[in-house]
Each structure stands twice: as C-alpha cells, then as structure tokens.
Amino acid sequence: MAKVAQEMVKQAGVNLDDLVELLVSNAAAELTTYYYYTILRVNLIGLEGEGIKEIAETARVEDRNHFEALVPRIYELGGELPENMKDFHDLSACPPASLPKDPTDIKAMLTVLVEAERCAVRGYTQICNMTAGKDHRTYDLAQAILNEEIEHESWFSEFLGEGPSGHFLRQGETSPFVSKFLR
C-alpha cells in the first residue's frame, strides 16, 4: 500500500474518497467508451464515414490507454475496481456513446463522439482542479489525459463544422501525453 503517498494527498486537503470515486468513474467512462467506440468505428463506412474512421480509431485506442493509466493510481490511493463488470459500466462518469439509430447519419455519429469527448474534458478538468498543487501524481496523470481528450474533441468538432481545430490527426504513436504512464 502506498501509505505515505495517501497521507500526503490527505494532508494537502484532498478528500481521498471523493478523488478515488472520481478516478474510478472516469476509468469506467474510458473503458466503456472504448467499447462503444468500437461499435461506432466499425459503422463509420461509406464516403463520409471512412473519412472519420481513422480519428475515431485513434480516440478509441487512446481511451483504452487512459483506462490502463488510471488503474494503478486508483490502487495507489487505496481504491479498487468493482468486481462486477456491469457495476463498473453503470458507474461511468459519462453516458454510453451509443450507436445512433441511423448509423449512416454522420452528423449524429459525430455528435455522439464529440459529446463523449466533452464529457471527458469536463471530468479531467475537474480532477485537475481538485488536485492542482496538492496531489502532484494524480494531477500529472489527469493533465496528460486531458491533453489527449481536448485533441479528440477538437478533431470531431471540426468535422461538425464548428471551425478549425488547429490540429492534425495523430502522427506516430498513440497517446503522446499518456504514454509515460504506460511504460
């Protein structure tokens, strides 16, 4: 048990129970989003869908990476994952990114994708705000994930016609910010 690590966080004024609950619910959001994005990705077909498939795939893989990166910190802080996978799904911080009724409706697909990313951006901003200057390790992790979630949001919002994102699709390996937590 990372006893001193937990004590330091508590002494800094962070409510450890609240933080762990947030980390677990965001880990659930990442893994469930990975699952739902798998369904979205395979349905992104045709002239319009194929153009979005690659960024959806990158976001999907990076969300799984986020889950992997969060788990060690949850246990370091004394938390745990629910034994039951269904329980884990149901406590997700974000709603299911379900396939739209008409999967050929690309705007509906993009709306699901961008809403999922926006939920994640809000969630990690909250964790960053909670831990800034107090829990340096969790802050570092949450900030790394936030960087990637913001990029995901910008990719999808650009396709929705919300204006240029200033970003280009991922070059090289996935998770440029989070990869240091995966080694």
Binding site: D18, E21, L22, S25, A93, R122, G123, Q126, N129
Partner: protein, 102 residues
C-alpha cells in the same frame, strides 16, 4: 405553491412531488428542497440562481449525486461557479420551480 400550503407531516415523496403541467412555477423552501435528494424514490432537484432544476432523469445525477462532489436537494449556485462546465448545461434540465427565500 401557494401561501396556504402546508407540508408538515407529509412523507418526503409527497413533499417533493409537483404537477407535471403546473400552471405557475412551484416555490420551494430550502427545507423542501432538502427532501428532494434523488434517493428513496424522491425527485432529484437542486437550485441554481433561484431556479429549481429537476435532474431525476439525468445520467449525470444518478442517485442524487453529480460526479462524486455534488449532492441534490440543495442550492448549488456557489458550487456551479467552480464547476468545469458553465451554466449552459443546466438548459438541458427542466426547470420545475423557484427557490423561496426567507
């Protein structure tokens, strides 16, 4: 809710109930709002800037809790100022009343 309404002795479920097609906005006291925690079958209500919102159907307010940090049944105006999202997200929730001060 009119001046003559009295809630004393009513179970929380009835205290929190509101007509779906209320002709005028119901007024809640803080005490009445405190019963609407989203638990034990009660509606999940909270107040922001004087308006009472119903989050009973919201995914983000399951069991009357919002992202581990916020609880329904209270005036969350100050808490919302520190939230990672703005008040625009409240537009997704139905307004069911106003908070009565004093």
């Amino acid at each position: 809710m009119g001046e003559g309404d009295s809630h004393s002795g009513l179970p929380p479920r009835l205290l929190c109930s509101y007509p779906a097609t209320a002709p005028a906005m119901k007024e809640y006291t803080l005490e009445e709002l405190a019963q609407c925690t989203g638990e034990d079958g009660n509606p999940c209500l909270f107040c922001c800037d004087g308006l009472v919102y119903d989050a009973s159907e919201s995914y983000h307010w399951r069991k009357g809790r919002h992202h581990a940090l916020h609880r329904a049944g209270a005036d969350l105006t100050e808490e919302l100022k520190k939230a990672p999202h703005g008040a625009q997200l409240l537009e997704r929730l139905p307004v069911v009343g106003r908070l009565r001060r004093g």
